[in-house]
Amino acid sequence: MIEFDAGLARDAFRVEARFAAEGGATTALFGASGAGKSTLLALLAGALRPDRGRIVVEGEVLDDVAGGRHVPLERRRIAWVFQDGRLFPHLTVAGNLDYGLARLPRGAARRFARERVIEVLDVGALLGRWPRDLSGGERQRVAIGRALLAQPRLLLLDEPLASLDAPRRLEILGFLERARREFPLSMVYVTHSLAEVLRIADRVVLLERGRVVGEGAPAELAGRLDTPLLAARPDAGALLQAHVAGHEADGSATRLDLGGTPLLVPRLAAAPGEAVRAYVLAGEVMLATSRPQGLSVRNVLPARILRLAARADATVLVELDCGGQRLLAAVSRGAVVELGLEAGRDVYALVKTVSIDAPAGGRLLLDP
C-alpha cells in the first residue's frame, strides 16, 4: 500500500502529486519526459526530500514534512532499478546479486529466495561474469535480481527498458512479468511507453508538468480523449477487452468475442474462453458510412460515433462505441467533412487483422 501526497519545488516547476496504490499492485507513472516522473520516483525512494506532504508505504510513514520525519533512502527498504542498470563494475554478477542481501537487517524476512530469483531471471549462467562482459539485457536482468534479493517492500523501476533495443525490451518485459507473478510485491514503474504501461501496469498515474492529470486502470486511460497527452500521441489507441471465441480452421487467425461482435486477430496461443486485451491503434482504424463490399479487411465492426476531437496534426480522433467498448479512429479533417461524421452517427469501423499484432510492442495482450 502506497499513500503518496507530497510535493517539491524543482528548477522549472513544482512537482505536486497525490496518488495511492494497493499493496501488490504495479503502478505505472506515465508521462512525457520532463513531466516529473523521475522526481516523483526519487521522492518515493527518499533520494529527494519533499517540501510538503506525506509519503506512507505499507503503513510506515517515510516522509512527513509537518512532523519533520524523513527516513533515509538506505533504510526505506525500497529497491530501485535504474535505466542503465548501474551494476557495480568491481563486483561479479554474484557479488552484485548479493550486495543487498548481505546488508539485510538481522531477522528481516527473506521472502524471495536467492535460488528462485536466479532461476526466474535466468542469471545462473552469469554468476561468475563481470558486468562489463554482459549484454544490455543481461545487465538489466541482474539489476532486477539484485533489487529483488534486497527483499524490498516496494520495487521502483525507472524506465528499465529505455536503453535496450526492441527485441531485448520484449524479452525483459517477459522476465518482469514472470517476476511479478513469482514474487508478490508492490511496484512503481516509470515509463513513457504506452505499450509497456498496457502490458505491465494494474494502474496508471498520468503526469503532466509535475501534476497528476489522470489516474485509473490502463484500459480506461488508453486513448482517453480528454487527456491531451494520450490523444496527441501517434500511438494513441483503444484497449479492447475480449474473450477467445475460437481459431480459424486453417490456423491463420484467432476469433475474439468482443461482447457479441467478432474480431479476427493474428493467431494467438490461447484456449477458447481465455480473456484477452487487444490494443488497436487509432491510426489503423478506418471508417465507412455504409457496409463496404469487396475489401480485404475482414473486421467490419458496426459502431456509433460518440465524440470527435481535433488533433494538432490536422487529423481528428473519433471515439466510437463498438458493442459497448470504446474504439478510437484517426481520420483526416477532410474526411470528417466529406462523410459528414458527427456524434451519434452509425458507421462501420474497419480494422485489418494483421494490424492487431503483438511483435511491435505487445499490442495484443494476454491477461495475466
Binding site: 525512494a45 533520494a47 533515509p72 533512502l73 538506505e74 533504510r75 527498504r77 525500497i78 529497491a79 530501485w80 535504474f82 542503465d84 548501474r86 551494476l87 557495480f88 563494475p89 568491481h90 550486495y99 543487498g100 546488508r103 539485510l104 537487517p105 563481470w130 558486468p131 562489463r132 562482459d133 554482459l134 545487465r139 539484485r146 533489487a147 534486497a150 521502483l156
Partner: protein
C-alpha cells in the same frame, strides 16, 4: 658502491617518504572525498588550505610548521607535554614537512578519480541498504583505487624530492632527516663531493623512474576490474 653516508641518505629518504604516505594518504582520501562529494561551509577555505603548499615557497611552509610544531609552537609544546614527542630535527618531522608538501598532489589525484565515479552507483548502493561508511568502503573506495594507488606513489616520489620545507623544519641531520636531495646539496657544498652528488642524483633518478613504472603497472591492473561495466 655507495658510502655509508649515502646509504643512510637513501634509507632516511625511504623512511621519511613511507611514513609521510602511510599517514598522509588516508587523510588525503578523506579530504578528497569531502571536497568532491560534499558541500559544507568553509569548503572553499579547506580547498585553498590544502592547495597552499603548491603555490607557497617550500621554505615558507617549513617556517609555518616551525611556528606551529616547533619547541615553542602551540602544537609542538602540547606534543612534548602530552607525549614527550618532539618533531623538529627528527625523521618524523621530516615526514611531516614532506607530507604537507605532497598533500595537495595526493588530494588532487584521489579527487580526480572520485569525480570519475558515477554518483548513480552510490545511489544504487544506498537503495540496497548501504549506509554512508559501508558505501564508501564497498563501492567508492574500490572504484577509486587506481587513483588512490597513483596518489600514493606520486606522493611518495614527491616526498623523496622535498628539499625546502624539510631543511627548514627538520634541518639536515645525517641518518635522520638528511634525505637524498639534502645529501646531494651537502655533497655539493663539500670540496670534491661532485662524484658523490652524481651518484646520489642517479639514485634519485632510478627511484623516481621505478616509482612511475610501478604506478603505471598497478594502475593498469586496478583499472582492469574497476572499469565502468
Amino acid at each position: 658502491m655507495l658510502s655509508e653516508a649515502e646509504w643512510s641518505a637513501l634509507v632516511a629518504s625511504l623512511v621519511v617518504g613511507a611514513r609521510a604516505v602511510a599517514i598522509g594518504l588516508p587523510l588525503a582520501v578523506a579530504t578528497a572525498w569531502l571536497l568532491a562529494r560534499t558541500r559544507f561551509p568553509g569548503r572553499t577555505l579547506l580547498d585553498a588550505l590544502v592547495h597552499a603548499p603548491l603555490v607557497l615557497p617550500p621554505v615558507v611552509v617549513g617556517y609555518v610548521l616551525l611556528l606551529a610544531f616547533g619547541v615553542q609552537g602551540p602544537v609542538g609544546r602540547w606534543l612534548e607535554a602530552s607525549f614527550g614527542a618532539r618533531l623538529v630535527f627528527t625523521s618524523a618531522g621530516a615526514s611531516l614537512a614532506a607530507g604537507v608538501m605532497a598533500f595537495p598532489i595526493m588530494v588532487r589525484a584521489v579527487r580526480l578519480s572520485l569525480e570519475g565515479i558515477d554518483p548513480g552507483l552510490e545511489l544504487a548502493a544506498r537503495s540496497l541498504g548501504a549506509g554512508p561508511l559501508d558505501r564508501f568502503f564497498s563501492v567508492t573506495l574500490p572504484l577509486a583505487l587506481p587513483g588512490v594507488i597513483a596518489a600514493g606513489i606520486v606522493g611518495f616520489a614527491a616526498c623523496l624530492g622535498e628539499f625546502g620545507a624539510v631543511i627548514t623544519f627538520a634541518a639536515s641531520v645525517p641518518g635522520e632527516t638528511r634525505t637524498l636531495p639534502l645529501a646531494i646539496y651537502a655533497a655539493l657544498q663539500t670540496p670534491g663531493g661532485e662524484a658523490a652528488a652524481l651518484r646520489l642524483a642517479l639514485l634519485s633518478l632510478g627511484i623516481a623512474l621505478g616509482a612511475l613504472l610501478l604506478a603505471d603497472w598497478l594502475g593498469r591492473r586496478a583499472r582492469r576490474w574497476s572499469t565502468r561495466g
